[in-house]
Every structure is written in C-alpha cells, then in structure tokens.
C-alpha cells in the first residue's frame, strides 16, 4: 500500500483482489519466497514540489484522530521566502512526527510509556503515560503535545490504527496534490524506496542525529532547522519595531491560536 492517494486509487484493482491479502502486508508478496517474515519499516516521503498548502492533511488528521482544539499532530507551515535578486516564493512544509530511528523522546520517559514499534512507529501508551511532558520537551521537532482531553502525551502515530487495517494514513489518503507518500522503507520495490533512490532527499534538523523516517524532496536548507524568519505569531512581549521603518502590517494568522 505504499503510495500516495492517486497511486493508491490506481492500485485499487490489484489491492482489492482479496481482502485477506491486507494492504499493509502487500510488501510481503515480494518476500513470499523467503522464510523470514517481512517486517515493514514505515516511512513517509513528502514531495514539496507537489504540496499546495491546502491543509487538507491537517484537517483530515484532526478528524481521524480526534485531535483537540489548538493542537496539531500535523500541519503545513507556510513561508514566504525572498532570496537576493529573486521573486518572493511561497514554500509549504508539512510537519509531523518523524518517527525517528533514534528518537530523543523515548529514553527520557520515566515510565516507559512511549516506545518504538518493530515497524518503526513511535507511539504513546496513554493508559500508562503520567503526563510529565518530558518527551514533549525532548522532541526536537515540537511534534508532541499534551492532549488536554486525555491529559497525556499525544502525537502522530503514522495512523497505526489505519495501517493495521491495511489503510493509508488519513493525511496521505486525503493529500490533494499527492505530496505525501507513505510506505515500507524495508521493501526496495516500494514506491517510497524508489522515490528515495531516484531523488535527492533531506530530513529536518539532521544535526540532531535523530534519523527521521520522514523525508522531503525539494526542501530548502534554510527551512530545515529552526526557521530564522519573521513569525506569523508574535506574542505581546516580543513585538519589535519594524527594522525598515515600515508600518507593521498585520500578518495573516493561519492556524495559530
């Protein structure tokens, strides 16, 4: 089932042949000859050239996962980038948990409530989480938050409940431009593996050595860390006079509270 929504629709015929051959297990066919059971390693490749910043993924994730108000498991940051001598360009950057292979959020948890699954997803057992928020501090991507309805740590699960049922994650399923691609990085035949082979890809904050499983095609290096730009949200304490003597124009507020 590694694909984006368009590819997924195209593959419907193949996939629906038998309900027993779950999509999540589609990668197994390639390995059927070997005795070792194939364990997928889920990953996402985001093709920024195709993202139109529509936030359909943001909304789909909220609806699918019952994300409370003012919190996001994923959202699309939108930047206006003006390079010397160039025209201003709009750049979209979908953000979500990177399901890091070396996740700093996991070792800090005092009660082992957050852990990495064999298939790569980093998840939280919210029946065990004490809500200490140490993991929220430790994630270098601001990908975690305290869910005030459950009072426990919350984050993207790569839609574990959907992938276990052979479905694509909600944000991938709904991606209008086909920018979000999801699949098995352990399967060299998968679409995401092919994309990684054929494109130059980067990850966010490589200096943190977290080994993310979310890759980006076409990510400008000025946006891969803490973005040094003018913020959409400016709390009262930090309002500064405009450097160029221009009147401060109100910034369009996106999803910021």
């Amino acid at each position: 089932m590694d694909t984006n929504r368009r590819g997924f629709l195209g593959a419907m015929g193949r996939v629906t042949i038998g309900a027993a051959a779950s999509m999540a297990g589609a990668g197994q066919s390639a390995q059927a000859a070997t005795d070792q059971p194939h364990i997928p390693h889920w990953g996402m490749v985001v093709d920024l050239r195709k993202c139109i910043g529509c936030q359909a993924c943001t909304v789909a994730c909220i609806m699918e996962n019952d994300v409370p108000e003012d919190s996001f498991r994923t959202h699309v940051s939108v930047y206006e980038v003006l390079k010397e001598g160039g025209d201003p360009a709009m750049v979209m950057l979908p953000r979500l948990c990177n399901h890091c292979d070396d996740p700093p959020c996991v070792p800090v948890c005092p009660v082992e409530a957050t852990f990495k699954l064999e298939t790569g997803e980093v998840v939280v057992d919210n029946t065990k989480c004490v809500g200490c928020a140490y993991c929220v501090q430790a994630c270098p991507y601001d990908a975690r938050f305290i869910n005030h309805e459950t009072q426990t740590a919350d984050k993207c699960t790569f839609c574990f409940h959907r992938t276990s049922a052979g479905l694509l994650p909600a944000c991938v399923e709904t991606c209008v431009g086909g920018a979000r691609n999801f699949g098995d990085l352990n399967d060299p035949e998968s679409e995401v593996s092919r994309m990684l082979r054929e494109n130059e890809v980067s990850v966010l904050r490589p200096e943190m050595h977290t080994n993310p499983n979310v890759y980006y095609i076409g990510l400008d290096a000025v946006l891969d860390g803490r973005v040094a730009g003018e913020a959409a949200y400016r709390p009262p304490l930090t309002v500064e006079p405009e450097p160029h003597g221009l009147a401060a124009e109100p910034q369009p507020h996106g999803e910021d509270a």
Partner: protein
C-alpha cells in the same frame, strides 16, 4: 534572504509554573540542608545559629517541593507508576527515587536533631505535653542524628545532580543544554536559600552578627553565580563552546531577552554590593532580592526556554504567565510553604537545636516518665 512565516502552529508550554516552583523549592531545600550540616551534624558550635535557620528552610521547602512536582504532572493520580516502571535511561525516573529519599531523610534528620527538645517539652506540666511526648516518641536520645544528617546530605547532592542533569540533557532546547546549567542551578540554589535564611533571621532572630555572617555567605554565593554567568557569556560569544553559542543565538535577537539578561545582572550585582558594604544592616533587602534572583533564574530558564520554538520562528507565549491559572501554582505553593513555616516555628523548639553528643549517647540524659 528574508523569510516570513505565514502559517505556523503555536505551542503552549508543557511544563507549567508548577515546575518552576518545584525546581526553585527543591534547590533551596537541598542547598539549605547542606548548610545545616556543619552546625547540626558535624558539631561546629559557631555554625549553629546559621544551621538552625538552614534546617528550617530545608524542611519547609523540602516538603512543599514534591507537592508542586505532583501538580505539574497532567496525570498526578498515576504517580505510583514512577516506582513501578522505572526507566533507567530517564533522569526523571531516578529523581522519583531520589526526591522521596531526600525528603524522608531530611525530615528524619530534623526530627532527630530536635528530639531532645521535643522530649523536654513533653516532660513539662502543661496542656499539650501529651503532643510532645508523642512527637518525641517517648525518648530523648538522638545519637543517630549524625548518620541521618550525612545520609540526607548525600541525598541532597543526588537531588542537585539529578535536577541539573534532567534539564541539561534536553538537546532540543539549546537554552537548557549547556554544561553550566546544573552548576548554575546549584549556585542560585545557595543564593535563594541564603536569601530566605536572611529574611527569616530578620523576622525570627534579629542578631546583627548572624545577619552579617549570612550576608557574607550570600556575597560569596552571588560571586560564584556572577563568575558562572560571565563564563557562560564568554564561552557563547567566543564560540569556544558551540552549545553555549547556540543557546545565546536562540534568544539574543529579542529585546525581551536583552532586558532579562540586564535584569538578571542587576539582581546579582545589587545584593552582592550591599552585602559586602553593609553586611549587618541590609539583610531584608539582600535577602529578598536574592530569593527573587533564584526564582527569576528558574522562571527564565523554564518558561523562557519553552518560549523558544524548536522549528518555527519568533517566540511563543510561555514567558508571561497565562492568567490566574498559571499563577495559582506559584501562589498555592508559597501559601503551603508559609503554613509549614508557621507550624515549624510553633511546634518545634528550633532555637535549642544542636548537634548530637558523640557516639550513641543521648544528648540529654533521658529521664523516665
């Protein structure tokens, strides 16, 4: 190159002002306990007046601190899981063992030190003697006070190490991830504890000699804080330590942070000068500013640190408390501390506390009742 963020998510602080209170109170308690040991465990008679105030601070803040910590958990009812599923790679998990041990040992040490006094009150003919007979557990011997004090001192060191390390290891927050942070927590802990002892001295003792001694100790602690702060800046500006440089870079451009740095420098320099110039008349002022400096340092590190986005631009709101809800933690813990202080000064003959006599022999001959 110019970048404008047009759409971005805002993240609220996940550690609330309760956490600031916890780190403030536990640092005061642990450092005060260490200052109580020379007089009350090691038998240095000259250090007794200071040690009595130090023990008062250690016990009252030490009992309040874990309550603030519990309140910072979003699932406080699950605190028992800390002891069931200790994750050895987490400093917080270790802290869950260190803190109760520390508080337990400190309370036991204080009880042992005061036992002869409690026992004596139980022997007098007055209305509440039954209470003190009960509090002294019917005896006056306290030879075990010294080992208890030394064990509490060791636990206090563990508390200082774990509280520093727990915050320091968070690489995702450059402002926290500097090797100096644990030392700065400890040094400002001494500043806050001495500040509180000075204020208590003014309220309860009014001995100019003691005031002067405390002020000199405060000046020394402030000197250490100033040296650490200057070294922090030097490392950051020179680029010798990339971590320090990154920490400075994460906040340097914001006027509010420049004001905070200036404020911090002033609240170290003013009490330092006053304490040196006029040690026996300035206890109120130096004490209050010192408490403020220790508290402000933690507020800035925790709330200010959480106001720095990890991937987004600008700053988030955390620096200012979000309404009364945020402040309730601060007000509530101070209220509880005040209550404990009143109880301590009312029920405990703290002015008579002294080091136990050598060996297991009772400090005062135990009389039968």
């Amino acid at each position: 190159m110019q970048i404008h963020e047009l759409v971005g998510a805002v993240h609220e602080a996940a550690w609330l002002p309760w956490a600031v209170q916890y780190f403030f109170l536990i640092a005061l308690s642990a450092t005060a306990l260490l200052m109580a040991l020379p007089g009350l465990a090691l038998g240095r008679v000259a250090a007794l007046p200071r040690a009595r105030l130090a023990l008062m601070v250690a016990v009252t803040t030490g009992i309040t601190a874990p309550i603030a910590l519990l309140a910072d958990l979003h699932q406080p009812g699950r605190f028992w899981e800390f002891f069931l599923y200790t994750n050895s790679s987490s400093w917080m998990a270790w802290g869950a063992w260190f803190v109760p041990s520390y508080v337990g040992l400190t309370v036991a040490f204080a009880w042992a030190v005061h036992r002869p006094g409690l026992y004596a009150l139980g022997q007098e003919d007055w209305r509440f003697n039954w209470l003190f007979r009960w509090l002294s557990l019917g005896g006056a011997s306290n030879g075990f006070a010294r080992p208890l004090g030394i064990a509490a001192g060791a636990a206090a060191l563990l508390v200082l190490i774990y509280t520093g390390a727990e915050v320091y290891v968070v690489r995702a927050r450059p402002l926290w991830n500097t090797p100096f942070l644990p030392l700065q927590f400890a040094a400002t802990g001494f500043v806050g504890a001495l500040g509180l002892m000075l204020v208590l001295e003014r309220v309860l003792c009014r001995e100019p000699a003691l005031e002067a001694r405390l002020n000199r100790a405060l000046a020394a602690a402030l000197g250490v804080v100033a040296v650490l702060g200057a070294a922090w800046f030097a490392l950051a500006l020179s680029g010798l330590s990339p971590r320090h440089s990154e920490a400075l870079a994460s906040v340097a451009g914001f006027p509010v942070w420049q004001k905070i740095a200036l404020w911090g420098a002033v609240s170290v320099a003013v009490p330092f000068v006053l304490a040196l110039v006029s040690p026996s008349r300035t206890g109120w002022v130096t004490g209050l500013i010192a408490i403020h400096a220790a508290w402000m340092f933690r507020w800035t590190v925790f709330m200010g640190g959480q106001a720095v986005p990890k991937v987004g631009s600008g700053l988030y709101d955390a620096l200012l408390p979000a309404g009364l809800d945020g402040l309730m933690g601060v007000i509530g813990t101070f209220g509880l501390w005040l209550f404990l202080l009143i109880a301590y000064t009312t029920f405990i003959p703290w002015t008579e506390a002294s080091a136990p006599a050598d060996g297991a022999a009772p400090a005062r001959p135990a009389t039968s009742h």
